[in-house]
Symmetry: C2
Subunit: 164 residues, 2 copies
DNA sequence: CATATATCAGTCTGACTGACATGT
DNA sequence: CACATGTCAGTCTGACTGATATAT
C-alpha cells in the first residue's frame, strides 16, 4: 500500500507547455482506446473525417491535408479498405492516382466514432463548468490556429463577434 | 508556389482532444529545441527539476516521480553526469542505491533552462491576453490534476478563491 | 533464498527517409 | 527523360519488457 503516486516536481508543473503536453497525451491515449474499440486507431479516424469533408481525394491530397506521410498512409488505407469503410480505385483521368472515397458503412462508422469522440472530450473536460469549457475550447483553437496554419480559427457560433 | 497548406478537416477540429494533443505536440517540439540548445532533451530537464525539489534521491525514486522507466533513466543520468550537472554515488547506507544530486553547475543550468522554458511558454501562449492566459493555465492545471494524481492542483496565488 | 536496485539487451510503436515501379 | 504517385524497406525515436549482476 506504499504505492502512493509521488507528486511531480513543482518546477516542472510551472512549465505550461509541459502541463499541456501531458494532458494532450492523456487525452490522446483515451481517444486511442475509443478507436481501438472499433479495431481502428487515430489515423483511421482522421482519414475518415478528411474523406467526409472532401468526397473523392487522391492519397497524395489526403496525406497533405492530414500531414501523414504517404508511405504510412498506405497501411492506414489498407485497413480501412479491408474493413469496407473506404474504396480505393484508380483515377481513370490520371492512372497514377488512387481516388479514395467513403462507403456508406464508412460514413456510418464515422458518425459513431464522432459521437464517441465527443463523449471522450466531455470526460476529459469534466472538471470545467460550461462557460469555462467554452472559453477553454475557444482559446485552444485560437492557439492552434496561431501555430498551425492548417488549423483556421472559426469562432464558435454563440461567441460574441470580435471587432471588425 | 502551390504549397498552400490544406486546412484540416472540420470534423477533426471539432474534437477538442485532437486540438489539445496537436497543440501539445507543437509546444513539446519547441521545448525540445530549447533544450537541444544545451545538448539536452525533455527528460534531462525533468530530472533536474526533480533533483531541485528533492536534493538527494535514488534512481528508483526519481523514476517513480517522473514516471520514466528506470532502464531509460540510466542513459539520461549518464548524459547529465558526463555534463557535470549531477553526481551519482553509492548510498553508503544501502549500497544497492545510487544517490543522485545536483551539482552547482546543474543548479545554474536548471535556472537557465527554466528561464528559457518560461520564454517558450510565453511564445506558445502569445495569442492570449493576460487574463485569458491566467484562466487558461489555471484550467489546464485543474484538468491535469483531475486526470493525473501525480499533478496536485495548487491554485495560483492571485486567483480568486473558489466558494467554500 | 526472496527482494530491491540499477543496468543491459531487445521489442514495439509512430514518424520519417530513400529507393523504386508505374504512369504522365 | 523529367516528374508525379503510390508502395516498400529501413531508420530513428520514446516507451516498454525481460534478464542479470550486485547488494540486502
Amino acid at each position: 500500500m506504499n504505492e502512493t503516486p509521488r507528486p511531480l516536481p513543482p518546477r516542472l508543473l510551472d512549465v505550461t507547455t509541459f502541463v499541456l503536453a501531458r494532458l494532450g497525451r492523456i487525452g490522446r491515449a483515451e481517444m486511442g482506446r475509443v478507436f481501438a474499440g472499433h479495431g481502428l486507431a487515430h489515423w483511421h479516424f482522421a482519414v475518415l473525417t478528411a474523406l467526409d469533408d472532401a468526397a473523392h481525394t487522391s492519397q497524395r491530397e489526403l496525406g497533405a491535408r492530414l500531414k501523414i506521410d504517404p508511405s504510412d498512409l498506405v497501411d492506414v488505407l489498407g485497413v480501412l479498405e479491408d474493413a469496407g469503410l473506404v474504396v480505393r480505385e484508380r483515377d481513370p483521368a490520371d492512372r497514377r492516382r488512387h481516388v479514395v472515397a467513403l462507403t456508406p458503412a464508412g460514413r456510418t462508422r464515422l458518425d459513431q466514432l464522432s459521437q464517441e469522440a465527443a463523449q471522450a472530450d466531455g470526460a476529459l473536460l469534466t472538471p470545467l463548468t460550461e462557460p469555462e469549457r467554452r472559453a477553454f475550447e475557444d482559446q485552444l483553437r485560437r492557439l492552434l490556429a496561431h501555430h498551425d496554419p492548417a488549423a483556421p480559427f472559426t469562432p464558435a457560433a454563440d461567441t460574441p463577434a470580435s471587432p471588425g
